[in-house]
């Protein structure tokens, strides 16, 4: 197990002749502490798989260095890095039993058979595979096979980290949920560094202690699920995390204070705050509510999502989404809405403006 560090890592795939390189991964400096549960979250094409491949050594970055426990490993091939990987689609040997599948990485490394038996039994127990150890892997369902893949990642005790690349893609939603909890439980038991790559915010936020949000080849924010939800540093984080995402609305400055519609927004900014450039406010649908006064809106759509309702309202030309409790009545016609000032953020050119005391 070890601490993984990226120092000024950048990567460009070879450009077509005569063209300048385009960085699939812009400068990343990042530390993954030993034993942490991390997620790399972002849409396809954001650079997260490139980053993962650089950690595992499948890819050597164009610039920068990688350190495992302060030792440079940038040029070290995959085999020397002791990284276990679990991929999107289960990789199992169909003709082998579940036991032999799990034992495979250990036998490859010449571990004594008695110790292998102990270790495989232990891991199978954690994954609820004990009953099936003598079954052939080919007879298992997709989630059963993916459990074997997970088990093979977990079975080695000498790994520096386990990397998961969208491991639950082929799993049915109700089983996805079980496997996700299982993985989290395993992390708590084993304590090895885990890095989980996904485009699914639910998977990222529920699994990880620290989520690294990527956008357009760069890291836009690193934080706990709570931080990403309550204080998105970039409008992309606000949009990408949360369902529906944060409302991002244009605002203007009047007497030095941000105003949306005709409503001054109570936020306390230091006098010398730079509020030039594109100004927007960000407010999550969770923090918009109906009130007796506030911003006049028209109701456009009410969606019943069971646990809550998503109400889409319009103020002038701006659409605003709000979350309303399951049983709450929706006011007729033209109600007023209010933004919770404690959860209102101002963005300047897409980056959050720090208010006083923040």
């Amino acid at each position: 197990m070890s601490r993984i560090e990226f120092k000024d890592v950048r990567h460009a795939y070879p450009p077509p002749p005569g063209q300048a390189p385009v960085y699939a991964l812009k400068e990343v400096s990042q530390v993954w502490e030993d034993g942490g549960a991390y997620a790399l979250l972002g849409p396809s094409g954001c650079g997260k798989t490139t980053l993962l491949n650089i950690i595992s050594g499948l890819l050597t970055p164009s610039e920068g260095s990688i350190l495992f426990d302060h030792q440079e490993v940038t040029q070290l091939p995959t085999a020397g890095r002791h990284i276990a990987q679990v991929f999107q689609f289960p990789v199992v040997y169909d003709t082998m039993t579940v036991f032999d599948n799990l034992a495979f990485p250990l036998r490859n490394r010449g571990m004594p058979e008695a110790r292998i038996r102990e270790r495989v039994t232990e891991i199978a127990d954690m994954l609820d595979l004990s009953e099936r150890l003598q079954q052939r892997a080919s007879g298992l369902t997709a989630d059963g096979k993916q459990k074997i893949s997970l088990g093979r990642g977990l079975v080695r005790e000498d790994v520096n980290a386990i990397l998961f690349d969208e491991p639950l893609t082929v799993i049915d939603p109700h089983l996805k949920w079980q496997l996700r909890s299982k993985l989290k439980e395993l992390h708590q038991q084993i304590g090895v560094t885990m890095i989980y790559v996904t485009h699914d915010q639910v998977e990222a936020l529920t699994f990880a202690d620290q989520v690294i949000v990527m956008h357009d080849g760069g890291v836009v924010q690193v934080g706990s699920p709570v931080e990403l939800f309550s204080r998105p540093k970039h409008t992309f984080v606000g949009y990408f995390i949360g369902s529906p995402g944060m409302n991002v609305l244009p605002c203007r400055l009047e007497n030095g204070q941000p105003v949306f519609g005709n409503n001054p927004l109570s936020s306390d900014y230091p006098a010398d705050t730079d509020l030039s450039g594109k100004l927007e406010i960000g407010i999550r649908p969770e923090f918009v509510r109906f009130g007796d006064d506030g911003i006049p809106v028209e109701i456009q759509k009410v969606e019943d999502l069971g646990r809550f309702q998503v109400v889409t309202v319009k103020h002038e030309s701006e659409q605003i989404k709000m979350l309303v409790a399951e049983d709450q009545a929706i006011p007729p016609e033209s109600p007023m809405i209010q933004f919770d000032p404690a959860n209102l953020h101002i963005y300047r050119d897409d980056w959050v403006v720090e208010a006083k005391g923040a």
């Binding site: 849409p43 109700h174 990403l228 939800f229």
Partner: protein, 354 residues
């Protein structure tokens, strides 16, 4: 297109893929088939499309028996999970291809392609090849090709499953609107309860080759007729427990009891089951209090999902805010007994709400 399955079943070899099913879809309606993998969603769609001939029963379209009429002779379009486009055709030619096959005049083809490209936000990409598009744009191209034909029945088999989370969210929002304008009858298969709720319309819950319930989506969610239907339509899974009813009281255990609704009080004493949605079991609040042993808590920024063992049942609580627990920690949970769904010995809902 009005489409009706009359006592349709499908057997393949010794296996029954679809048990006897009656289902009637109105023209222009947005319908969802909700069920897990292998519940029969795809089989049912293939039967509707005419790609599969029913072993028994009949398929009626607009009041006409079309059982056995091949798919080519019917106004049907189908989109699969894995999007299929012609790799060497531009987006424009991909969308235009069914119209060219139909021999439409060039002017009309051009108008239609541009209208649907506009609807699906593909106008700036018309000259590109599919390989130069993102996954979402490729799937939108496949959708545009299905729509441009003006098929009266459009079958979508988990069309968003391969897409990014946020893109899925956007398309779920747009899809019903897109189809509302075309007047087509849509059948949309998904394994995700939340997706069904977002899409709205009508939902058929499927379980092991049977349609267990069909009706307005929000009605099916709130009034599942059976435990099977409730299970299909809940993610995380609906909390289930056996209770003992004696007189006007339900006992989850000797220590945990509450008053049952009048309708249930009138019924014979004995064993019943309850279903309780995870968001109705809360770590704080009032109502019936139960002791639990927490297995794991997952925190997603705005809410917590807590797996907990209560009276020997594996239950889940889904609550607003941040609730952290240690593994194995004892904690109290609460629920409002009015939120309970009650099921009889055959796992059928006992209607308790007036």
């Amino acid at each position: 297109m009005a489409i009706e399955l009359r006592q349709v079943s499908l057997r393949v070899g010794a296996e029954t893929h679809i048990y006897e099913t009656d289902l009637s879809l109105e023209p222009g309606q947005f319908n969802i088939l909700l069920g897990t993998t292998l519940s029969g969603k795809t089989s049912l769609m293939r039967l509707m499309a005419g790609l599969e001939k029913p072993t028994r029963g009949e398929l009626w379209v607009n009041g006409e028996n079309v059982t056995g009429i091949p798919v080519q002779k019917r106004s049907v379009a189908m989109v699969y999970q894995a999007f299929i486009n012609y790799p060497s055709f531009s987006v424009y030619d991909n969308i235009a291809s069914p119209l060219k096959v139909a021999g439409l005049p060039r002017q009309e083809i051009n108008e239609k392609v541009r209208r649907f490209a506009d609807l699906l936000k593909l106008t700036p990409m018309l000259d590109r090849l599919p390989s130069e598009l993102s996954g979402g744009q490729q799937q939108r191209t496949a959708l545009a090709r299905a729509l441009v034909k003006g098929a009266e029945l459009v079958l979508l088999d988990e069309p968003l499953a391969n897409l990014d989370y946020k893109l899925r969210e956007e398309l779920r929002d747009e899809l019903p609107r897109m189809f509302a304008d075309t007047g087509a009858t849509v059948v949309y298969a998904t394994s995700e309860p939340l997706e069904a709720l977002m899409l709205g319309g009508y939902t058929a819950t499927l379980d092991e080759g049977r349609v267990v319930q069909f009706g307005k989506t929000s009605t099916i969610y709130r009034h599942p007729e059976s435990l099977a239907s409730a299970r299909v339509f809940s993610d995380p899974p609906v909390n289930i427990a056996s209770i003992e009813k004696r007189g006007e009281t339900a006992y989850l255990s000797d220590a945990v009891s509450w008053s049952v609704p009048p309708r249930l009080a009138e019924m014979p004493d004995g064993a019943y089951k309850i279903g309780l949605r995870p968001h109705h079991l809360l770590p704080v609040g009032e109502g019936v209090e139960v002791d639990g042993e927490v297995q794991i808590a997952e925190i997603s920024g705005s809410e917590s999902i807590i797996r907990v063992i209560i009276e020997g049942n594996n239950w889940v609580s889904e609550a607003h805010g941040i609730h952290g627990y240690e593994f194995g920690e004892s904690a109290s949970f609460f629920f409002d007994s009015n939120r309970c769904l009650y099921f009889d010995a055959n796992e059928m809902l006992i209607e308790t709400q007036v």
